[in-house]
Structure formats: structure tokens, C-alpha cells
């Protein structure tokens, strides 16, 4: 082995690692929560109604899934920087800025996957809800319930995109740690870039393993929910 895997606590001790995990979760969960509240009504609207330009809107949503995260970070930083239009709020290099950029990155994923889930609900099921005396709201609720597995998958996919993303939060968050070793805007991913650059591979590996467990856990949860959905259908 060209480096020893003896695990030394990093400079700030284990509080450093724990605070990084907490910042990661706080930023990504908030971004995904807000994005879900924003994306779901739009997915329902686009899935429900026919309007001119619907195909273009759908294409834009799908294209958004491929946004390069560094470009998103750059644009968000420009908006939030002192000279930018939102500069008065003084939010550059804060967790809020990271939430904003992860929101932008997670939204196309959540919107696109939940849109296809909503669209896969048969017209005949909507008709049945209407014909049984349902209002438009009742029909909407039925569609959400029918698409529930797809919507949960969408949220988990959005979380996967957010938690493992590094480019934009590095730019807008600044990867800041307080002098006492507590993370301010340093997350699992951005911490790994620092640890790798400084040659502290052990800490980097621990952080990487934690990130992997989180991402794998979310993926496992997603496929378990999907298989549960299939199981209900078949028996």
C-alpha cells in the first residue's frame, strides 16, 4: 500500500466529519423538498392539460436534466454576487446559495420523472374518478395516488442528483469551514475534493464511503418502492 489506511481524525476531530454530513443533508434535503413543492404542481398541470407549446415545455424540462452543474453554479453565483441582481440579499457563499443551485439542478429531474409518472396514469382512470362524482381536485388526487410510486422515484432521483453534485456548490458555497473545524458550506462532495488535493486520502475515503452509502441507500429505497408498486399490480 502506498499510503496507510490508519484512520486519523482530521484536524477538527470527528465534529468536522459530522458537521459536513449535516450540512450535506440539510442543503440537499431542503433543496429537494422545495423543488418537489415547485415541480409537482407543474408536472400535474403539464400532464393534465393540452396547450400550445406543450411539447416544447416537455423538451425543455427533459433537457434540463443534463444541465452542467458548474454552469448552474456560475449563473447562481452571478445572480447572488454583490454586483448581481440579487446581491442585496448578501447570500453568496452561504448554505442558502447552495440550496438555490441544487434546487435548479434537482428540479428538472423531479419534474421530468414525475411528469412521466403522471402521464402514465390512464385517461380511463381519470374518467372513472370524474364519472364517480369527483371534482377536478378529486381527479387530481386520484392521479397523484396512482402515480405515487413514480413520484417517490422522482424525488429520490432528485435527491441522488443533489447529494452527489459537486461543481455548483463548490462555486456558490465556497467550501468554507469555520476555524473550530465545523463546516459552514463544506459538504461530503466538496470536502472530498479538498482532502484529495491535500493528500489526506483516509478522510477522503471515509467521506466517500459515507456518500456512497447515502446514494446506494436512496437507490435501494427507490427500487424497493418500484418493486412494491409492481407487486401490487400483479398480486
Amino acid at each position: 500500500m502506498f499510503f496507510s489506511l490508519q484512520l486519523q481524525p482530521p484536524d477538527g476531530g470527528w465534529t468536522y466529519v459530522v458537521s459536513i454530513i449535516l450540512v450535506s443533508l440539510e442543503v440537499s434535503l431542503t433543496a429537494v423538498g422545495l423543488s418537489t413543492l415547485f415541480s409537482l404542481p407543474i408536472a400535474l398541470f403539464v400532464g393534465f392539460t393540452d396547450f400550445p407549446g406543450k411539447r416544447i415545455v416537455t423538451a425543455v424540462i427533459n433537457t434540463g436534466m443534463g444541465f452542467p452543474s458548474v454552469v448552474v453554479g456560475l449563473v447562481v453565483l452571478m445572480l447572488l454576487s454583490n454586483s448581481g441582481p440579487l446581491g442585496t440579499f448578501d447570500r453568496a457563499f452561504t448554505p442558502q446559495a447552495m440550496i438555490a443551485s441544487q434546487f435548479v439542478l434537482a428540479t428538472p429531474v423531479i419534474m421530468s420523472v414525475s411528469l412521466s409518472a403522471v402521464e402514465s396514469v390512464e385517461q380511463s382512470v381519470r374518467d372513472a374518478a370524474f364519472a364517480m362524482g369527483g371534482t377536478d381536485l378529486d381527479v387530481g388526487i386520484v392521479v397523484i395516488k396512482e402515480a405515487r410510486y413514480g413520484i417517490v422515484t422522482a424525488v429520490l432521483a432528485g435527491f441522488g442528483r443533489a447529494i452527489s453534485e459537486v461543481g455548483s456548490i463548490l462555486i456558490v458555497g465556497g467550501n468554507i469551514v469555520f476555524s473550530d473545524g465545523e463546516s459552514y458550506t463544506r459538504t461530503l462532495t466538496t470536502a472530498i475534493t479538498v482532502e484529495a488535493r491535500q493528500g489526506r486520502y483516509e478522510v477522503g475515503l471515509v467521506l466517500g464511503a459515507i456518500l456512497l452509502v447515502l446514494v446506494l441507500g436512496v437507490n435501494w429505497l427507490g427500487s424497493w418502492i418500484r418493486s412494491k408498486g409492481r407487486g401490487e399490480r400483479s398480486g
Partner: protein, 271 residues
């Protein structure tokens, strides 16, 4: 008459689907709308359940034009009518929840939340109407099964129970047994007659003349978007006045052709 159409016409784009159709159904009777596939039977039933407004003519509930009512009043009328589709169109939920759906949407939000809480603590009670509806189609033992795991015949019977469980004045059934085997068809027809005996008015769209003969009090024969003939089944079967009705009753396929010699004859079919 409870539910009537008066001279309704409807088209999709340039294509006219219904042209000047007037029919009506009363409580406690079965009206069968028969005719070949693609002649507008489904569209007519969808007009009766107020999916769409007709381009011309009126749909009336107890002589009141439903499209002259406010949204709320029309919703109240819609809730006196229920519908069964050609496909069962059940929700991905247990059979009991499917059957209770119509009652649930008629409840206030606080009642719905209370119901949710009771469900969560394991209270599996059904209302008497829902219980009776499921019993009528003989599927009480399947109440906890997921509706999507049922066979086609069972699913269609659940769809019928769901429509019956709201205690409707009028039920609209669109080709309810076109995908069913004879046993399920028999159960469904029995259920239709039991609903009728309870005072429900039933409109059944079908292309099955034998079924029409078994269950109808009146038959309306629809061809190419118009009602060409209507009357009691004995008259339609024994003394059809329209040439097209006559041929349909006799079991001929109806084609949109002017030259009748182009139609296959029974001799050439059997050879």
C-alpha cells in the same frame, strides 16, 4: 323522464359523431342503446354523464337543462348518475377502497380525514350500501385484494359495484360485458336487473343483441350517430321498421356502402 337528451349533436373537429339524438331513461327501467361499433354509443353515454357539453341540443335532468346550471348544481346532478366503462378502470387500491370511492368524494374534507384516520388504525368497516353493492356482484370475499390483481371479469364486476355503491338514480354502462366470459356476463346482467328492481334507471350501450333482448325494457337502435329506431324489445326484434335495424337484428354486419352487392353473402362466407 329522469335523464334525457333532446336533439343533441356532437362532433370532434369536422367529424360529426352524434346527429340530432333524442333519448330518455326513467327510474326503474333498462334502456339499451344498440348498434354496431363506432356509431356513437360511447359518445352518447359520455354526454349523459356530462364529460362534454353537446354542440347542439340539450341534456336534461328532470326537465332541467344541465348545462344551464351552475358548476355546483351540475356536480350535484352528476352525483345522481354513475358510470361503468368498457374497461374496468379501477384504482390501484384494495377492492373495498375502490367501491367506497364514490361515497368518499361526496364527503366533506373533515369526514375524509376522519375516515383516513380510522383506516390507519385498522377499522375496516364498510358502509351498508358499499357492502350490499359488493355482495350484489358476489365479490365480498375479495374486498381486501388489490383491485389490479383481479381477473378481467372480477374487475368489471367491481367497477359495477363501485358505480352501484353511490346509490345512483341512473347508471350508465358502456359495453360492460364486451370483454367478459358468459359466467361473468350472467352475474353482471343479474346485477343490472337487481339494480333496476331497486328503482335505478339503467342505460346500457351494447352491440350484443342477445344481451339487449335479455335485459331491456326499451331499445334504441343507433346507427351512424343517429337513433334510427326505438321501442320495446318485442317490437324491435319481431317487427323492425328500419331496414338497418332489420339487418342488425338478423345478425348482419353493417357496412357503410351503397352497393349492397359488395357485401359478403352468407353463402360465400361458409364456403
Amino acid at each position: 323522464m329522469t335523464l334525457t337528451t333532446d336533439g343533441v349533436s356532437l362532433g370532434y373537429g369536422d367529424e360529426a359523431v352524434l346527429d340530432d339524438v333524442s333519448i330518455g331513461v326513467d327510474s326503474g327501467e333498462v334502456l339499451t342503446v344498440v348498434g354496431p361499433s363506432g356509431t356513437g354509443k360511447t359518445t352518447l353515454l359520455r354526454l349523459l354523464s356530462m364529460f362534454r357539453r353537446p354542440d347542439a341540443g340539450t341534456v336534461a335532468w328532470h326537465d332541467t337543462d344541465v348545462w344551464g346550471l351552475s358548476d355546483e348544481e351540475r356536480l350535484a346532478v352528476r352525483r345522481q348518475i354513475s358510470m361503468v366503462f368498457q374497461e374496468p378502470s379501477l384504482f390501484n387500491a384494495p377492492v373495498a377502497r375502490n367501491v367506497l370511492y364514490g361515497q368518499r368524494v361526496r364527503q366533506s374534507w373533515s369526514e375524509r380525514v376522519q375516515r383516513r384516520v380510522r383506516d390507519a388504525v385498522g377499522d375496516r368497516s364498510m358502509t351498508e350500501t358499499a357492502h350490499t353493492a359488493l355482495e350484489t356482484v358476489g365479490l365480498l370475499d375479495k374486498r381486501d385484494r388489490n383491485a389490479l390483481s383481479l381477473s378481467g371479469g372480477e374487475a368489471q364486476r367491481v367497477a359495477f359495484a363501485r358505480a352501484l355503491a353511490v346509490d345512483p338514480e341512473i347508471m350508465l354502462l358502456d359495453e360492460p360485458s364486451s370483454n367478459l366470459d358468459p359466467r361473468n356476463t350472467a352475474v353482471l346482467e343479474e346485477a343490472i336487473l337487481r339494480a333496476k328492481a331497486r328503482g335505478v334507471g339503467v342505460v346500457v350501450a351494447t352491440h350484443d343483441m342477445n344481451q339487449a333482448e335479455r335485459i331491456s325494457d326499451r331499445i334504441a337502435f343507433v346507427y351512424d350517430g343517429s337513433v334510427v329506431e326505438s321501442g320495446p324489445p318485442e317490437r324491435i326484434f319481431d317487427d323492425p321498421r328500419d331496414r338497418r335495424t332489420n339487418r342488425f337484428v338478423a345478425g348482419d354486419l353493417l357496412y357503410e356502402v351503397d352497393d349492397e352487392s359488395a357485401l359478403p353473402t352468407s353463402a360465400s362466407e361458409s364456403s
